[in-house]
């Protein structure tokens, strides 16, 4: 059935494309899709992939290394330091308590100390992919539950490196040479203990020094060439080199990659590296998850459905309990607690990494491995369902209600305005409307703010504005205007699209972050766009010119001219198809755009002086006229 490399590649890619699409359609994480693809093409369903699945697993583990490099990139030491209390406090409490309880649980279930320890580590970790996806989709990043989730996940991301370092110590057998691929070439075994430690310290120091004085200058040179694929090559060179160095001294390549990422997180190439490696990481991890899926032994699982179900529920309950306690200790409000609890209660993709790592070291046997893999996958699949239960049945009953009944207002509701988002931008809009006796119905996602606004007597709906049902209960059907004042352009577009599709008669007034946002919105056919970066910056520029001696009234007129000109140009440029050559850097694309704008300005002249009230023209014309007469 197998044999050809091309055939295997086709099987994997086809499986991934089909299953991920299905999973996404069902509202599940792409991780589930990959796992499912692995199961389908694996030996127990279609049987396309047999024994070679394990080799693929080894190859795909490199995705984990890239992932940790990217996690390292995300951690700016300064930000980390600022958030250290929440990260270490909440993360530490969550991981520690979860590990302690699940360790106890599995000991009681009759597993050995080492096995229980590995499983408890796996359970303690939640799915960054799923949780962050949900937080971003729902625009919860600015709320306390969002920030807390982020802190806990960040702590888990870091602690997993130590776990990966710790697991080999649990390996009680010496015959690991076939599965532990790092041990063959390890330098450590040939050196005395003192030198081993020294080698590790030296290589870590080497990464830090090289990151600063070798890698960054090299990336600058590469960026100057302007050849996009060179940056990809450079990114891989960095990750490969670090991994090689780490394997050479015999420590985890993942740890080295993480360290390399942290070193580069302050460099100007952070975002370039991220965007370059991200798709490769995703694909490699996808391959990894597929290999994991293909290795699950379903015959064993099918025989013990109640054991699987029981342990699954026990673990989710345990995780949820710990998260709730953690949230309680850190004094989150009840609905923020619930959001955090339900969002992080699954076992994450790190579990696959830890479990297959431990399996490779012969700490786990096939049966336990399969059991835990299935439970992990199932717990991840349950997250969206738990989220829906929370959102529809629990949250509306406790804490900040989605809406509250208010006595009928004295203001006639014939003019209805809905204001989505009451942050810095939206609150200014809302205050100004209110000062004119127009009470906007507010939609906001931050429960603290919602409670406060309700106390102030506003009509506020709490929840995700991309849910049509929430917009409908806020009265979109009778609204004249809908104002979108939220910070997140993706959510803005989504809300705009939903309203345009379902209630085309509601007039939309939309805050745009910048030109690019404005292009998108204009191309969606929305005309009332308010770029937050336009009026204020011109007010500043005009004040600057005023301090240099320009007259204020002339400036005031020029500002209006400039806005008019810029609004026209943005409408013109939005219509042009976007640059097809997607290989040039995004930053470079923006620079090119800037250049175009500046060139247009230049053609327009330094200042397009209107001739109003300038008597010079009349004088010149009169003199010319008199000359002609005489």
């Amino acid at each position: 059935m197998t044999g050809s490399l091309l055939f295997e590649a086709i099987v994997f890619l086809l499986g991934a494309i089909i299953c991920v699409a299905i999973a996404k359609r069902l509202g599940l994480s792409s991780v589930i899709g990959y796992l499912l693809a692995g199961v389908v093409i694996g030996p127990y369903v279609l049987g396309f992939i047999g024994k070679e699945g394990e080799d693929i697993l080894h190859f795909a583990e490199f995705g984990v290394v890239i992932m940790l490099f990217l996690i390292g990139l995300e951690i700016e030491p300064k930000n980390f330091w600022n958030m250290r209390k929440t990260i270490l406090g909440m993360g530490g409490l969550q991981v520690g308590l979860t590990m302690f309880l699940s360790y106890g649980l599995f000991l009681i279930l009759g597993y050995s100390v080492n096995v229980s320890l590995v499983i408890s580590m796996a359970i303690a970790l939640s799915s960054t992919a799923i949780a962050m996806q949900t937080i971003k989709e729902k625009g919860l990043m600015e709320t306390t539950s969002g920030a807390s989730s982020f802190s806990i996940l960040l702590f888990q991301d870091i602690i997993v490196i130590f776990m990966l370092g710790f697991i080999p110590l649990l390996s009680n057998t010496e015959d690991t040479e076939t599965s532990n691929h790092t041990s063959d070439t390890s330098l450590l075994e040939t050196l005395p203990i003192g030198f081993q430690t020294l080698a590790i310290i030296l290589s870590v120091a080497l990464i830090v020094v090289a990151g600063r004085y070798l890698i960054v200058p090299m990336l600058r040179k590469v960026a100057k060439t302007g050849v996009r694929e060179m940056l990809i090559a450079a990114a891989f060179l960095i990750v490969f080199s670090i991994s090689y160095l780490m394997e050479f001294v015999g420590i985890s390549p993942a740890l080295g990659a993480f360290l390399g990422g942290v070193v580069l997180s302050n460099s100007e190439f952070k975002h370039e590296l991220e965007s370059t490696l991200e798709p490769f990481k995703n694909l490699m991890l996808g391959l990894f998850f597929m290999a994991v899926g293909a290795s699950i032994n379903f015959i064993v699982i099918a025989n013990i459905p109640f054991t699987v179900g029981g342990i699954l529920l026990a673990i989710i309950a345990l995780k949820a309990f710990v998260l709730f306690i953690t949230a309680h200790v850190f004094k989150l409000k009840i609905d923020q607690k619930l959001l955090l609890t339900f969002n992080l209660s699954q076992i994450g993709e790190f579990a696959f990494v830890l479990l297959s790592f431990a399996f490779g070291l012969n700490i786990l046997d096939q049966e336990v491995m399969d059991l835990m893999l299935v439970i992990t996958a199932l717990s991840m699949s349950l997250t969206p369902i738990l989220g829906i239960i929370n959102e529809h049945y629990i949250l509306p009953k406790v804490g900040t209600k989605e809406s509250i009944d208010r006595p009928m207002d004295h203001i006639a509701k014939s003019q209805k305005v809905i204001l989505v988002g009451f942050g810095h931008f939206g609150s200014t809009v809302g205050r100004f409307l209110r000062s004119h006796g127009v009470e906007a119905t507010i939609l906001d996602i931050d429960s603290n703010r919602v409670d406060f606004l309700r106390k102030m007597g506003f009509e506020v709906y709490y929840g995700d504005a991309t849910r049509l049902s929430l917009l409908e209960s806020a009265g979109i059907a009778d609204a004249n205007l809908l104002i979108i004042a939220i910070d997140n352009p993706t959510v803005t577009r989504e809300v705009a699209r939903i309203v345009k599709d379902n209630y085309p008669n509601v007039e939309l007034l939309i805050r745009a972050k910048n030109r690019y946002d404005a292009y998108d919105l204009l191309n969606m056919g929305i005309d009332n766009i308010y770029r937050e970066s336009l009026d204020t910056s011109l007010a500043l520029a005009s004040d600057a010119l005023s301090k240099l001696g320009f007259r204020k009234y002339t400036l005031a007129r020029q500002v209006q001219n400039f806005i008019k000109y810029d609004e026209e140009s943005i409408r013109r440029l939005a219509k042009q198809p976007t640059d097809e050559d997607s290989y040039i850097f995004k930053a470079r694309q923006e620079l090119a755009e800037q250049e175009k704008l500046l060139n247009n300005d230049f053609k327009r002249g330094v200042v397009d002086y209107d001739n109003h009230w300038d008597s010079k023209n009349i004088k010149d014309a009169l003199q010319q006229f008199q000359k002609n007469k005489s």
Binding site: R551, K552, A556, H612, W613, S615, I618, K619
Partner: protein, 200 residues
Amino acid sequence: MKKILILFAHPKFEKSRVNKVLIDKVKHIENVTFHDLYEEYPNFHIDVKREQELLLKHDVIIWHHPFYWYSSPAILKQWKDMVLEFNWAHGPTGLALQGKTALNVITTGGKREIYCATGSNSFTVNEFLRPYEQTANLCGMRFLPPFAVMGTYSLNDEALLLYANQYKSLLDFLKGNIDDVNLSNYFFINDLPILSKHLI
């Protein structure tokens, strides 16, 4: 000594040769407040309270402006509409400006000769300034003939300097007690003997 408020209105002062020379001459004189309306209120959002307080602190109000379309630039009309409130500047209890003095200081491109019944502009400057005259009357202020710098299109620098000196002398004159001086016979206050000496 009386205090003088110059309410200056020029939408494009930076391009006005004549007004620059005139203003430079009088801007820093003692007891004279120069108040640049287009610079203070580029968006026409006039601070009424502040303007009224300024008016109360001064005895002589000068509307200094170029003569556009036989009237003042737009902001001066806006200023009148906003500041001269009912029952403050006029009306039964609107006595704030009673007894003060008001006049226009204007610059015109056309020469004096064309502002008359037989000239191309058909009317005199004084006739065009009737709205200001009646505004002053209604607010209980004494309205003086205008100080005019005319024919600015063909005005050379020496002649302009003479006008500037004349403007300065006018302000000195207005700072004194002029209650007994009869000015009703003059079309322009420029024609006062003490001022016209500059032009000789």
